[in-house]
Symmetry: C4
Subunit: 208 residues, 4 copies
Amino acid sequence: MISTFEALAGQLADVGRHCYERGWALGTSGNFSAVVRSDPLTLAITSSGVDKGLLEPRHIVAIDEHGRVLQGSGTPSAEAALHLAIVRSRGAGAVLHTHSVWSTILSDANADGRLTIEGYEMLKGLEGVRTHAHRERLPIIENTQNWPAAVPRVEQTLRDHPEAHGFLIRGHGLYTWGNDLAEAKRQIEILEFLFEVMGRKRGMGWQP
Amino acid sequence: MISTFEALAGQLADVGRHCYERGWALGTSGNFSAVVRSDPLTLAITSSGVDKGLLEPRHIVAIDEHGRVLQGSGTPSAEAALHLAIVRSRGAGAVLHTHSVWSTILSDANADGRLTIEGYEMLKGLEGVRTHAHRERLPIIENTQNWPAAVPRVEQTLRDHPEAHGFLIRGHGLYTWGNDLAEAKRQIEILEFLFEVMGRKRGMGWQP
Amino acid sequence: MISTFEALAGQLADVGRHCYERGWALGTSGNFSAVVRSDPLTLAITSSGVDKGLLEPRHIVAIDEHGRVLQGSGTPSAEAALHLAIVRSRGAGAVLHTHSVWSTILSDANADGRLTIEGYEMLKGLEGVRTHAHRERLPIIENTQNWPAAVPRVEQTLRDHPEAHGFLIRGHGLYTWGNDLAEAKRQIEILEFLFEVMGRKRGMGWQP
Amino acid sequence: MISTFEALAGQLADVGRHCYERGWALGTSGNFSAVVRSDPLTLAITSSGVDKGLLEPRHIVAIDEHGRVLQGSGTPSAEAALHLAIVRSRGAGAVLHTHSVWSTILSDANADGRLTIEGYEMLKGLEGVRTHAHRERLPIIENTQNWPAAVPRVEQTLRDHPEAHGFLIRGHGLYTWGNDLAEAKRQIEILEFLFEVMGRKRGMGWQP
């Protein structure tokens, strides 16, 4: 397991710096995780308070299903409870959370609590999507500073949107996940691209 | 021929990563090809499903005029039929296909199935154009998930627009081509620049 | 002290080139400082007229509380008086001043002399902020070419806004500060991110 | 003289690739020159048709006051006549010409043939400007494909605007100049920054 954790820590640090470079995880924002072992669940996750432009493997800790640190030093992100909920609910192998300009803007734009994306070829970059005619519905969750208490609400949202590849938190950012880190990273890029298209169109008077 | 294929595979990988860096081929989007030999036709083309930020020469395969793999491992892009049609119709030596934010936006903006660009000095970066007074008309083709079946429609569009240096696919992106990869890459940059100018002007209330 | 000055000079040069790369300190714009010693006050600060893309440790000078050069060659920035005032008023360990497109735009947008930012998760990247519900009020100061004379006005503004993490100068840019350079750099990124979100929303007809 | 030419060729190649990276000289657009000797006038200038992302010192030629090649191989830019006119009229040591998105947009926005920029601190990055209250008036010249014939018109425009630090060509881009390359490069960055501020404000309904 140690070698797996170390390999994932390196990959998570790479993904984190990449997101920083793209402007999706400025300052200490964003957090990133990958499953080291399923049973018992062990999750490698970024520790709290690290500048993502300086993220190194030593900033990754391993936690158990209750969020307790098993390996590494540092405090796991306050949103670790969300990562664990997504892994449980979706069987994800990796969970990525970013704070981009466009996801922040669009998270605040839809009163009905959902962002619908439809008709774009880029949608085929989402796992299992085979056609641009796909309609992706991303739920928008209200922000909180108490994620452990909000976990039941997030789990219900995930059950209500079984097809969703991610969700937005209002005024906050994006969560997406995948079977592995490469898939989750690809989905971040796909969704950020589509957010930028929709945000810019809205600026022109189109409605997304 | 092998050395030519290997050289082109290296150049295609470079172009692909460059487009990824510019944000024109995020995730696994985009595909790129160059003619290895004209008779019988052999085309070097990106294989399907590769993250373009990680594109390497080993991700390029050689295919024949029917899209069958001659060299390398991997599945050619599902849009290989489009690349072959463009090579046949235009005598192109290289074909580049990108998914940018601005081409996606503009592909959806023109009900008459055409994007007209006129009066910009940058137009002179397109092969054979000698004056900014040039009027470039890029046809907009409807998107599909069955490109082999759509080839006759694309060929007809190319015949209907003998002067066009590229075309857009609605909600999808840009195709352009050139006598060689350098020319095709230059045209990608020229057209993407002009799309950004026109898209931003439209956001200001100008009409392109 | 010499080793501290040299270490800070290296870190200030890194921060300056980073801001240049992000487009926040183009040309010779922007200036950056860090406290070498508190008593008597010694401040490491960028010298005037240096292209921030080429900033090197040798472009940093040490000044005393009156702005007189103690170490290094070069003229301290004309805005050194502002840096010293902020260090005195806030007990800051580092002061960063950038000229970005969005801070320039937003500095001119609010007639009441204040930019209010509220409801964004990213606000938690500001020192001491624990919730997205935080309301950040950044005062906007009129621009001048005589900062030594304007120091009392700036000090009054800082007293009037004891909770503010920075201020804008109209048509000019942003000042922020922190206990150390890492904190001040993080706040630059947080505030620039929020400016971009608010500026783009305003372009869409939202009011910040 | 040879060593000067070689040094300037290296610096021009650096500036050209920098402008390419910033998106101000995509494809083969843009051209750049610096004075090697004043009497008789010898100008180092980019040769025509080179991808600015691949610009090397060997792509720079030396020309005389009539545009004849003195050193190096390649055809000087078709706009060499403009560079020579600016050197003569302004006594410039370096002339830079870029094609950016924002300069292209703003060149088309002002019916009265002039872009006025006023009230920004960044204006102080222009040579000799000491206050943000400076009013910069950049004339806008109509585009042509015959610059040798247009030289008298350009010279008249320069005489009519003795204080201008540059001019725009409609639908085409920016010319600026300086006593040396560093000054001209700084002015490119200053003016491009201000174009972006003004263009984005205009997109929001402000008038520049």
